[in-house]
Amino acid sequence: MTEHPAAAASQPLTAADSSVSTESSDLGAPLYVAWQVTNECNLACLHCIEESGPGKAFRDELNEEQIFNVLGQIMDHEIPYLSFSGGEPMVHPLFFKMVEYVCSRDGQLKIETNGHYLTPENCERMKKAGVKSVQVSLDGATSATFNRMRVRGNFDRATDGVRNLRAAGVPIEVNYSPTCFNVHEIGTAIDLAYELGAYSFYTGRTMYTGNAVKAWHKLQLTDEQYNTFFETLHRKTEEYRGRMRVHFHEMGLLEELRYRLHHPAALLIVLPNGLVKLINALPFVCGDLRRQSLSEIWANFQRAWQDPRVAQFIDDLSTDPGKTKTLHQWVYV
């Protein structure tokens, strides 16, 4: 048996020994579908890769029939892991219907939310449905930092939401994006996540993409800040070992993309309108779930990674990081 740490979500499928050597191309279907169910959001975060916000829903987001057609295909293909994100997924009018459908078919579903709609009633409903976990973004250990990052956001509302999850018995994960103004709180943010009942804490470098490109002067960390950040993460990983998993990647965006070029993850990113991207941080689209089946798109996924425009784009990023401004100008491959 060969173990691949975090293979589906953020690490490649590479064999650690010779028993079974696998890459995502060996698989009959993805292992993970990350579905951005809407681009609408109640917040307008400084670093949002999707540039979501109030009034930012796509005009052509999938309708109910299309949504359940796609969900049915995901379940039929036995894709073991599915996440709903956004925008803010909980503002989607069909959110609970989608959640309850996936869970009724024994899907392992993770919800990625800003935590502002985690009322006791909603948390109970997610518990009853059987969601695998709810991941809440807490970019700071105080109102001052959280509210600065999460424009229109409210730290107390988000943390109350996490407490409601805990009271309902829903497994909790916490996500944290570092900036120059919150990085000093990383240690206390991890402590807070544990106190709130999280079993996992995720972080890494904040990417120069989406809204972050425009707000970079307010966000950018120095190398020295990153060094301290990662030192703290290593220390906290040990401190919480066996109690809460602290996950983080030290790779930068360019390094990650270069790796992916040769080792695509078994992951499809589904946009609110059904387009399927190779990876969030690139503009390349390998299919359209309104017109193509999941099987067709998966078959195209590996070929699309080999399209020379993908390698060229990644090469160009090394000299022109500003190319990430074009992430939402989709290129079909």
Binding site: E3, A6, P80, Y81, S133
Partner: protein
């Protein structure tokens, strides 16, 4: 014995995969390991699994038993199965 709550199994051409969704770890399985997990999914206990594998695979009975039990112990150690 059964797969743990957060573990999903899918068969593939090369064998199969186990996905532990809490840790987001994927384990790839060869054909024999896949056969073991398939039997676990039918509710077999260890003794029944060994009997069924001996019927199916042509390696010596001792080897099959040793390998199957070692694999099941590994699954238990990684908390991928529960009794």
């Amino acid at each position: 014995m059964r797969l743990s709550k957060y573990v999903k199994f899918r068969e593939e051409k090369f064998g199969g995969v186990l996905f532990e969704t809490r840790s987001e770890k994927v384990f790839t399985l060869n054909s024999v390991a896949t056969a073991v997990v398939r039997e676990i999914n039918t509710g077999c206990d260890e003794r029944e699994i060994v009997v069924r594998l001996k019927e199916r695979f042509s390696a010596g009975d001792d080897i099959i038993e040793r390998d199957a039990l070692a694999f099941i112990a590994d699954l238990r150690q990684k908390a991928l199965v529960q009794d």
